[in-house]
Amino acid sequence: MLNWKLVIWVWIVGTIGLIGCQTEPKELPYLDIKTESRSEGGKTVYDTLVREMPIFALHNQEGELVDETIVEGKVHVVDMFFINCPTICPIMKANMLNVYAKYKDNPNVLILSHSIDPERDTIAALKDYADRLGISSERWQLLTGPMKDIFKIAEAYMVPAEQDSRAPGGFLHSGAFLLLDQNRRIRGIYDGTEEGEVEKMMRDMELLLNAA
């Protein structure tokens, strides 16, 4: 005998699933919201705060000193890497190169790749790397600076990085791509080692660019 209750459930759930897939969200969520608790008059109250994005003063591959004003009004993508990274970075760079290729003529887009290996990734090394990748600092900046600043920036962006002599290449870091909008607010976090996720990110970039 057919279990009709089950059939109806399957039908309802399936329908919801289908609707869910068909409606692409028009607006991306804000992923930089955090709640903090404090006590007020003996009661615990919760505040909703927007996480502040880091200010910085770093050198790019051209040897220019740049700060956070370079991303003003731009949809931008942020990741962490280092040149001698033997594991995930090459895949991240291959995927980011697709993003670069798509937006290299769009002045409203900027890519920031933060090196976490300032000892080896000097400005000259970053310049050589950029030339070999075939990228221009106009649209894709490779950034370096003092180690403690870099780790602070990584933390603020929520893409943890740390030095670890046991890790391949000497560092551990996340393979995340962060998508930020024109107001430096985080609107998406993607796995930069997955081609499909990076394609999704490019669709989300369109939403942000069109909303402007």
Binding site: N84, I88, P90, L133, G134
Partner: protein, 116 residues
């Protein structure tokens, strides 16, 4: 076509995907001027017999692959066993060096013995 679980070039493909593809690409296409291609690489064609040593010890310094200069360090893979290196070598040569006959087990052993 018969399917054999022990086909060494199948094993080699899997090992290639784990240990090499992140830099050289699933299709051996390489990446820009950072990671050289293996597919139809004139460098690999000329140095095929050195492949086990390249895998084991890595390679650095400027090299020309199909007329393009590459100059980065590739680390060695001392964690791989002799058998794994032979399987990767077999796969890479069969897949991407069409001008060479598929290496025999004897070839693979002789090539590997050539490096320290």
């Amino acid at each position: 076509m018969a399917y054999r679980c022990t086909d060494p070039s199948k094993k080699g493909k899997r090992l290639y995907e784990v240990h090499c593809a992140n830099c050289h690409g699933e299709e051996g296409q390489g990446l820009a001027q950072l990671y050289p291609p293996l597919a139809n690489s004139d460098y690999l064609e000329a140095h095929a017999t050195e492949l086990p040593c390249i895998i084991l010890n890595g390679i650095e310094g400027e090299i020309l692959v199909n007329g393009v200069s590459y100059n980065q360090q590739m680390l060695g893979h001392p964690e791989l066993s002799d058998a794994q290196i032979a399987n990767i070598t077999n796969y890479v040569v069969r897949q991407w060096v069409p001008s060479r006959p598929a290496p025999t087990p004897k070839d693979l052993k002789a090539w590997a013995d050539g490096c320290n």
